[in-house]
């Protein structure tokens, strides 16, 4: 099974990189862009894992390693397999 995990800053945490990208987009004339949040993407290949197991395993991995829960949140989805 392949899963994708998206880690980004919590809404309450300032994202200076996202701000810089937003400012660049405004300079280029993309006035419609209201806000930019930058994050990280991880794709994990899980061997012999059922959907129920993935639902336990992936959030655990995200919380313990991939994201720092003090400043970051995460979302995840199954890309392949079930």
């Amino acid at each position: 099974m392949r899963v994708r995990i998206l880690v980004s800053f919590k809404d309450s945490v300032l994202d200076p990189q996202g701000q810089t990208v937003k400012n660049a987009l405004h300079t280029m004339g993309y006035a419609a862009v209201q806000d930019v949040r930058q994050g990280k993407v991880f794709e994990l290949d899980l061997a012999g894992t059922t959907k129920a197991e993935a639902e336990r395993l992936v959030p655990e991995i995200a919380r313990r390693v991939l994201a720092n829960p003090i400043i970051e949140k995460f979302d995840w989805e199954i890309l392949k397999g079930r």
Partner: protein, 247 residues
């Protein structure tokens, strides 16, 4: 009194720290390898600066899983003194020994310069050789030094007097310009609630010899020496209090 400097792949202030502790301050010091499980009986663990594991994932995020760091965590749990400098501070945050997290510097630049920090609390194991309000001139060299803690945690850190150093100007004033990396409350160094673990972003080991332009960093090492000497069995304040009570 024996010091241990932990080496990770990517540490680059390990030898500077070892040099200052062993040659300048003349205290027995050993190098500790991150894969080992043995703290070799040291009285104080120092996590040096650098880029452990290339800062992959987040600064300090991988180093905290090293076998030796589990020993360091247990050592700190027993009241052992732990000092984290720069990347060492970031590792202590990731390990959960200190509160908060690091964000990228506010101007998104790697900052490599001398700064001033003010001693906020001189009744700590790391500042007792100094005085409250004293300004130290020490260098920083980091990308992720923008200290962050959620509002409630920040309140507790302040209430518990865990802030040990704040960025300030040469006169000791905390200004927005002096807070070069944008840290909340201009926090440059913070300790745990118990007071035996300190993390700071500036490098005291790079400011401990005249030839390097400042010896202000020595205050931190000298404070540690005083604290460790006081911690000899039978001289602990708590032990004395108990003895008086028994009488």
């Amino acid at each position: 009194m024996k010091f241990g400097v932990v080496q990770f792949p990517g540490s680059n202030c390990d030898f500077d720290t070892f040099h200052v502790l062993s040659k300048v301050m003349k205290r027995p010091t050993v190098m500790l390898w991150h894969k080992d499980h043995d703290l070799q009986g040291v009285d104080c663990v120092v996590l040096p600066g650098g880029f452990s594991y290339g800062d992959y994932l987040r600064s300090g995020a991988i180093a905290r899983f090293s076998p030796l760091m589990q020993e360091v965590k247990a050592f700190a749990g027993r009241g052992g003194r732990v000092l984290g400098i720069c990347n060492g501070f970031q590792i202590l945050l990731e390990l959960g020994l200190l509160p908060g997290a690091m964000l990228r510097n506010k101007n998104l630049k790697f900052l490599c310069q001398h700064v001033h920090i003010r001693i906020e609390n001189d009744r700590t194991d790391f500042t007792r050789a100094g005085t409250k309000g004293q300004v130290l001139r020490v260098p920083i060299a980091h990308f992720d030094g923008n200290y962050y803690a959620p509002p409630q945690a920040l309140k507790e850190i302040e209430r518990n007097r865990q802030v040990v150093f704040r960025y300030c100007d040469a006169a000791g004033r905390t200004t927005e310009e002096a807070n070069v990396n944008g840290s909340l409350h201009a926090i440059a160094g913070v300790r745990n609630e118990r007071g035996n673990v300190l993390g700071l972003m500036p490098h005291p080991e790079r400011a401990s010899e005249r030839i390097l332009g400042s010896v202000d960093g020595r205050t931190i090492f000298e404070s540690l020496f005083l604290s460790l000497e006081r911690a000899r069995p039978g001289r602990r304040p708590a032990a004395r209090r108990k003895a008086r009570h028994d009488r």
